[in-house]
Symmetry: C2
Subunit: 181 residues, 2 copies
């Protein structure tokens, strides 16, 4: 869980990163930024900030902001009823993104969050700069992180059903709980 104050502070930090990346986002959009701590309560280590631009029954477009040294945990998009699962293309807008997918272990510049070896099993590192993009077929495990300076990227996908995403870490809860104190 996260306090309301921490949540709103993270929204502002994320909006700053997005604007620094050259994106025009409205005040209303800034207030809609979703701060995701994955129920782990250590947002600055494992988390992501998400601005949803389009969400229909057919497609989804999001802007993702990572704070410096923040990691989005390993996950995949499973089939849901008639949908074979979310197909997603991530394109870097600003900063450098360290992306991990199935393949030979080439982890060198990124890092597995401390004490979480069992929860990060993909070790094939793809270093992505602005205008680089990667397409993830449904079911493909992936995690990603920023180092110094943070990073901002687009996620273009088929319909997103975030609450049904699967995570390697069994302690993860996808929907952030905010406490008002």
């Amino acid at each position: 869980m996260i306090t309301r104050k921490e949540y709103e502070s993270a929204q502002r930090r994320a909006a700053d990163l997005m604007r620094k990346a050259g994106l025009h986002i409205s005040e209303k959009e800034e207030k809609s930024i979703e701060v995701v701590d994955f129920g782990l309560g250590r947002l600055d280590e494992e988390g992501v900030q998400v601005l949803t631009l389009v969400q229909t029954e057919r497609i989804s477009v999001k802007v993702l902001a990572l704070f410096p040294h923040q990691t989005e945990p390993e996950h995949w998009h499973p089939p849901v009823e008639n949908d074979p699962g979310k197909e997603e293309t991530v394109r870097v807008i600003d900063g450098t993104v360290y992306f991990f997918v199935p393949g030979p272990d080439t982890l060198s510049r990124g890092f597995v969050p401390k004490g979480k070896d069992a929860c990060y099993t993909m070790k094939h590192e793809v270093v992505m700069k602005p205008s680089d993009q990667i397409t993830l077929e449904p079911g493909k495990k992936h995690w990603f992180q920023a180092l110094d300076g943070g990073a901002v990227m687009f996620s273009f996908s088929t319909v997103a059903r975030d609450a049904l995403d699967k995570f390697t870490d069994p302690n993860i809860v996808r929907i952030t709980e905010i406490v008002e104190s």
Copy 2:
């Protein structure tokens, strides 16, 4: 039709507009920009420049650049086999876009290209600035244009089958013919 030289010049002008809008696009992407004259041979009046970022069997993401006073002709996305038709969200990145959709005639700041009244039947004007966006259901007729300074926008959509789009102007040919002389 359009000459190779005109085509490449338009690609460069479009890439300049996209970069001025704050987008990071690679050299390879610049060379892939599609210059569309709709077979009308008057690109600067009726045309559009398109950079496709994502094109799969499920989704499509494009960057559209309009030169100053250039108009994308009225069209719509029809059903194709099992697909109810392309659903599209256009989001302005830079400049002002004058968008025309079904509704009461409010055309005031935009203009119908000279002599083409029969080909532009939607007169409900929506003025869009950076971060404004509009979602078009399949089958909804629309056209749009830029005035001074041109404009750059995203098109986020379900699968695009541009060659099957329908246009009000019967003279339009969607695929640009390039002559080498």
